[in-house]
């Protein structure tokens, strides 16, 4: 086999079209935080919660600017007013005294029991100024006993509050001026027999009173500028309380707004403070390591073991509240003193983990100083975990504040907080449930929003959750 020398010539090569196979970025590159935000946006519950939190912040910060009602001002004409539309009052003449109606007493044969009065009626329309009643004389009656109730006495004969005892049988009318409110009253008239005892029979009349006020009174209360501008028969609108008023006649909406200031201020500032303390403590322990680390973490263990609520109460008392102070500052200090170890443990764990990472070693190799390492690598990398802790700390602190205020160990009155408002509302829960329900709803919605937001943030920021779902 002869082997001919094989030689390459220019004709053996073929020019190939230039081809570039470099990697291209087909989609925009996103940073950690952009990615987290995208994931959060996809989480509907977390997004709604975020909006609720923003709305609450608006309610707290801008609310008092829009709704300028003093939370401590008492509107004694509208105590425990239920939420609803504004109340109106008609202008009437000033009160003029009334002589009443008289009738000749009717005699009845001895021994016949007194009958129920007939013809019980209103002499003139009932108002909050006066309710004037008249009835036909009852044969044999020596007088009349009058009762007023705010419930229908019919089923069980509970006549209510005795408002008058008339011992003159000729007097067949009654004028009620006692603390009248614009509600429905049930008036009952019971005739008295020869011995002065009440007869068993009675007549009842349901009366709806309307709110009226004289022009002069309205001016004194500040509801109108000048008594001369209104005429009898005009209607004026009372100070409006859309969420009603509490047991002292204070505006609920304004108290809720100012209460939100206290609850949210403590709820946001306390976690920020103790998270900062925790970061410093935890990163110091994690960075220094060795015996110092052991000692620092053992101390943190002790603080964790303290019964939290007992010590909150103790510390709060120990820092003391002077007269006229709201007691927010002692509560903040107590919270920071007791709540930092959780964050410290977490940050220490993170620091210990990150310290062993390759990029830290690379950075050190390139001559990075400790400060640079901490600021550029450690803190940004623990930020996600810290943010989640912070979000979960807010509802628990709001709970603690509400709890303490509820047992009377929190914010001092008259400063409103949602917890102390719930406490006050609980006492009148049966008759005026709105005084408990509104603050309770605000606490619950806030806690719920922060919890769901925390869940969402954890899912968005936790790298281990990627690709699952």
């Amino acid at each position: 086999m002869s082997t001919a020398a094989f030689e390459f010539g220019p004709g053996d090569f073929e020019r190939v079209a230039t081809e570039r196979r470099t990697q291209t970025l087909s989609r925009p590159s996103v940073s950690y935080w952009q990615d987290a935000w995208r994931r959060l946006r996809d989480n509907r519950r977390a997004l709604i919660s975020l909006w609720i939190v923003i709305a609450l912040a608006f309610f707290t910060l801008a609310g008092p600017l829009l709704w300028r009602v003093d939370p401590a001002a008492q509107d004694l004409d509208q105590v425990s007013q239920a939420p609803g539309l504004p109340q109106v009052a008609a202008i009437v003449e000033p009160y003029a005294s009334w002589a009443g109606l008289r009738a000749t007493p009717l005699a009845a044969p001895a021994g016949t029991p007194a009958t129920a009065p007939t013809g019980l009626s209103l002499v003139e329309p009932a108002t909050t100024q006066a309710v004037r009643l008249a009835w036909d004389p009852v044969p044999g009656a020596t007088g009349y006993q009058l009762y007023r109730n705010i419930y229908d006495p019919d089923p069980d004969g509970a006549l209510g509050l005795p408002v008058a005892e008339i011992l003159d049988p000729a007097q067949v009318s009654f004028e009620d001026r006692l603390d009248l409110e614009p509600v429905r009253y049930w008036y009952s008239v019971v005739p008295l027999d020869a011995t002065g005892a009440e007869a068993g029979e009675y007549a009842t009349l349901a009366v709806d009173t309307t709110r009226v006020i004289s022009a002069a009174e309205a001016e004194t209360l500040g509801w109108i500028e000048d008594a001369g501008t209104v005429a009898v028969g005009d209607e004026i609108v009372l100070p409006y309380h859309p969420f009603g008023t509490d047991y002292l006649g204070r505006d609920m909406l304004s108290r809720l707004m100012y209460g939100a200031r206290v609850s949210l201020f403590i709820g946001v500032v306390a976690p920020l403070l103790f998270v900062v303390v925790g970061i410093v403590y935890g990163s110091a322990a994690g960075f220094i390591g060795g015996r110092v680390d052991q000692l620092l973490m053992r101390f943190a263990d002790f603080v964790v073991a303290l019964p939290f609520l007992l010590f909150m109460i103790l510390f709060k008392i120990a820092f003391g509240i002077g007269p006229g102070e709201s007691g927010i500052f002692p509560m903040l200090v107590a919270l920071v003193l007791l709540a930092w170890p959780a964050t410290a443990r977490l940050v220490r764990g993170q620091v210990l983990q990150i310290r062993e990472e390759g990029y830290i070693g690379a950075s050190q190799l390139l001559g990075a100083k400790t400060t640079y390492l901490v600021l550029r690598h450690m803190i940004p990398n623990t930020m996600g975990v810290i943010l989640v802790t912070l979000t979960f700390a807010v509802p628990s602190v709001i709970f603690t504040e509400a709890f303490l205020s509820f047992i009377g160990m929190g914010v001092a009155p008259p400063t409103p907080s949602w917890g102390s408002m719930s406490n006050e509302g609980l006492r009148t829960m049966l008759t005026h449930p709105h005084e408990l329900i509104f603050p309770a709803i605000f606490i619950s919605v806030t806690v719920l929003a922060f919890n769901l937001l925390g869940d969402g943030l954890r899912d968005a920021l936790d790298v281990r959750m990627r690709g699952q779902e």
Partner: protein, 310 residues
């Protein structure tokens, strides 16, 4: 195991000492003292009383006396309730709080495990959605609101039937305990349900469950023997802290339902600056909680043989 137990117990004792010291310091930095009431105007009487209670000694000496008495199990005499020993107060009222707390923990644990397992089995179906909604409510509504609303509900329930089915407040019979302990355990129950659900979801399709299924075991047996037993473990670890949360959370429930427990006494003592009662109850509660957590950790080691206690 033995070494671990001893080590934990020693740590526990040191923690209790720390609690006692912290209480002592906090107590004595409170402005005013229990003797500065309006009745004591005479300096001489005040000096006599201070001598009687040892308040005239230097602070460090007071501390040593206090710690000495405490190691002998003597918490001293109440300042405001004449001649009443703190030990007696604790002995009388702690059983009430403890009964309430134990019932609440039982409710919370049983409910949490049951609901959590149910939600995991019915994942993303109606029972899951409904229960998880209730759980979120349970976590978000403060206990005093639940307590108030349940009282309201009880009142209308009793009014509806015309007889007292369940008492609205007070203490004494088993009927008195049902509603308060349910209310007290509710938050923890919600928390445990969430935990149980996620731990159950992890286990529901584990390899050993698939093996059990392919062996042809009946579903109830798989559920009880394989899934439930494994999923319960994380729930047990958080029982220690849960007991702590429930015992101290009992204050509000005791207040709302008028239950003569230790929590109410503590709040009262703090308001009256009754040094000995405050320190006694705090140290007692603290010690109770510390040893509860240790106990739960030790029990965990027995239940889960995979956990090596060191």
């Amino acid at each position: 195991m033995f070494r671990y137990t001893v080590k934990r117990l020693i740590q526990g004792v040191i923690t209790v000492w720390f609690i006692a010291t912290a209480t002592f310091i906090a107590m004595h930095s409170v402005p005013g003292d229990p003797l500065s009431g309006e009745r004591l105007t005479n300096e001489e009487i005040r000096a006599n009383l201070e001598a009687r209670y040892g308040l005239d000694r230097p602070l460090f000496e007071q501390y040593l006396i206090y710690m000495g008495n405490m190691t002998r199990g003597d918490f001293g005499i109440s300042f405001t309730q004449q001649n009443r020993r703190v030990n007696d107060i604790i002995r009388e009222h702690f059983p009430v709080s403890a009964t309430l707390g134990i019932l609440a923990v039982v409710f919370a644990a049983l409910g949490g495990i049951l609901w959590g397992a149910l939600t995991a089995l019915f994942r993303n179906r109606l029972p899951d959605v409904v229960i998880m909604f209730l759980v979120i409510l349970g976590i978000s509504v403060p206990s005093f609101v639940v307590a108030g609303l349940s009282q309201l509900g009880l009142t209308s329930l009793n009014a509806l039937f015309g007889v007292s089915i369940l008492p609205v407040a007070g203490w004494g019979t088993l009927l008195h305990m049902i509603v308060p302990s349910l209310v007290l355990g509710l938050g923890t129950m919600a928390f445990l349900t969430r935990l149980m659900r996620s731990s159950m979801l992890e286990i529901i399709n584990a390899d050993f469950v698939r093996t059990a299924r392919s062996k042809g075991l009946p579903p109830t047996r798989i559920f009880l023997k394989h899934q439930l037993r494994n999923a319960i473990l994380p729930v047990i670890t958080v029982l220690g802290p849960a007991i702590a949360a429930i015992t101290t959370g009992g204050f509000v429930v005791e207040l709302v339902f008028a239950i003569p427990g230790l929590g109410r006494y503590f709040v009262q003592a703090v308001q009256q600056l009754d040094y000995t009662v405050i320190m006694g109850t705090t140290v007692f509660y603290g010690a109770f909680l510390v040893f509860m957590v240790i106990l739960v950790d030790l029990v965990y080691g027995f239940i889960d043989p995979r956990v090596r206690l060191e």
